[in-house]
Amino acid sequence: MTQVVRAETAVSPLVPVVCKIVKIVLETPDVKTFHVSTPDGQKPFTPMPGQLGMLSILNVGEGMFSITTQGPNHLEFSIKKTGVLTDALHEAEVGQTVTVRGPYGNGFPIDFCKGKDVLFIGGGIGLAPVRSLITYAIQNRSDFGKLQVIYGSRSPADLVFKEDLFENWTSVPEMALDLTVDRGDDEWKGNVGFVPAFIEQLAPSPEGDKVCVLCGPPIMIKFCLQSLAKLGFKNENIITTLEMRMKCGVGKCGRCNIGSCFVCLDGPVFTLAQMQNMPPEY
């Protein structure tokens, strides 16, 4: 698995780095992407795709989020409005002081994916962690075989990263992009239906040791796994991320354990083969 890179500026793994929100992108009615840099315009640390960051508004609280991608001088967090901290983030403006610590967790197994065809599956905000690896694969296109992205959301308005979906990712060599929505609207010309049924309809072949990376709501994951099994994907080649409540991010505060694994250290990325050896308590 990937080597963890630690923030060099941090005194303790629990003390964060002060940063600023430098840009906010409205993705959907309830999802925003926050670009975060240090006050002198630097990236607080350089995560590997799939790693996590603890983001905080100082007087509100801290929360663990996947780092959806990064630029040379910033990190991006795509966040759905769903609680106290995320509400405060959604009300924040550019220039708001935030703090960041990390990166945490193992990240996606890039070396394992290299040289292979990769199928990415996302549902709703679940595309956020997957996007870190899609972006990496596009930036290092020759390291990977054929790419395919299957992505679905509740409605056309709920599709996140529209600039990627409708511009940046449409001209990548040998990368297929298949979108679906649960409910269309007057302008939607694409597929209408749930992601698992769409997978079976598209029937991507597992041949050539293809790897599947998927993230989304638990119910979608459950049915996608059944679809992928029907298509013949190996458990070792199905990769997803798990979520648990976290406080420390460094395997000490206790609460993100699933069996003897800590999601913050040993995850959030797990293969289906690994998950089958863990208690189903997530």
Binding site: V4, V11, S12, P13, L14, V15, P16, V18, I57, L58, N59, G61, E62, G63, T82, G83, V84, L85, T86, E93, G95, Q96, T97, V98, T99, P218, E243, M244, R245, K247, C248, V250, G251, K252, C253, G254, R255, N257, I258, G259, S260, L265, P279, E281, Y282
Partner: protein
């Protein structure tokens, strides 16, 4: 072996207290615990304290950093302070073992917790052996703990009746004994036999058996009476789960960590409301599996030292030795 009369312990503590802070077992406020020693104060070195010494290294609440947050602008300042050298005097071997477990958690697996480390590095530990159960609920002997001896300390004292036999267990411990040599004599001593323990849970094969018992109905049954009060986790010398929270007043505030308990439903509840351990069945199961299966899988040791505090103080008599017995009796 170096020896010191029990009657001279106060004199020894007075001498140590001239040079550094001393934390010793005192009875007060209805709960015996390790507290700063002041000259001539009565210490109770018989039996183990009700409260474990974990707060010496991992305080119940601990400030991590101060911050200001004024509209868009904010800054923070670490509250980290190096601990001044101190002596922790008179912990029992069960509690010495618990510090060994906490070391695994806070100092290994790629991340060192500086707040814990500074207290560990600057605390000289003097332990005392037990020649038998200090309390009726003691069962350390069954949990890979030698009641009479601890190794991960600086100085260990054997209980020889009217005196203690002292052995240095580290270089710092040798220097300590040399410093206070005037109070110690030299004698050929015989360490007494360890008396029998009434509680003797048999741990043989328990970790392996628990690996097959995640879905067993036993958890529903044993968790029924749990009140979810968390007393077991607060009194446990090895329980180390913590919460991170903030106190804010105006534009000033500080972020701190504080003890948390896996017995509380909020502990694992995520934003959006999903809770992977929604009922006490899952929470009680996680607590016992953490002690007896998960920690051994991760660190190679049990996360229970047999101190018996949870057994004696649980308001509904939840008894880990009884659960171990039931696990052994289950037919799979």
């Amino acid at each position: 072996m170096k020896t010191i009369a029990k009657a001279k312990i106060n004199a020894l503590l007075d001498e140590i207290a001239k040079k550094s802070n001393v934390l010793a077992p005192v009875a007060g406020d209805g709960a015996s615990k390790f507290a700063p020693y002041t000259q001539g104060a009565p210490v109770s070195l018989d039996g183990r304290t009700l409260l474990p010494p974990k707060d010496i290294f991992f305080p119940q609440t601990e400030k991590m950093y101060k911050f200001t947050n004024n509209s868009l602008e904010g800054s923070l300042e670490s509250s980290f302070e190096a601990t001044k050298p101190q002596v922790l005097f008179g912990i029992r071997t069960c509690d010495a073992k618990s510090i060994h477990c906490l070391d695994h958690v806070f100092l290994t697996k790629g991340f060192v917790d500086e707040f814990y480390q500074t207290k560990r590095d600057n605390t000289l530990i003097v332990s005392i052996g037990c020649n038998g159960p200090a309390e009726p609920t003691c069962f350390c002997k069954s949990m890979d703990v030698n009641p009479q001896e601890a190794d991960n300390v600086d100085v260990h004292l054997y209980d020889l009746g009217s005196e203690y036999g002292a052995v240095a267990k580290s270089e710092a411990g040798e220097a300590f004994l040399a410093n206070y040599a005037a109070l110690f004599g030299d004698a050929d001593v015989k360490i007494p036999e360890v008396a029998g323990f009434p509680l003797n849970p048999n741990l043989e094969g328990v970790t392996e058996k628990l690996q097959k018992m995640f879905d067993h109905p036993l958890w529903e049954e044993v968790s029924r009476k749990c009140l979810g009060c968390g007393a077991c986790t607060y009194l446990c010398p090895t329980c180390h789960c913590f919460d991170v929270s903030a106190r804010v007043a105006g534009d000033q505030g500080f972020r701190f960590r504080c003890w948390d308990s896996c017995m509380f439903s909020e502990y694992t509840r995520m934003a959006g409301g999903h809770n992977p351990r929604p009922s006490k069945k899952e929470r009680v199961r996680n607590r016992f599996l953490h002690k007896l299966q998960y920690f051994p899988e991760r660190y190679g040791e049990l996360l229970c030292t047999g101190c018996g505090r949870c057994v004696s103080k649980c308001p509904v008599n939840m008894d880990i030795t009884n659960i171990i017995k039931q696990v052994r009796e289950v037919e799979l």
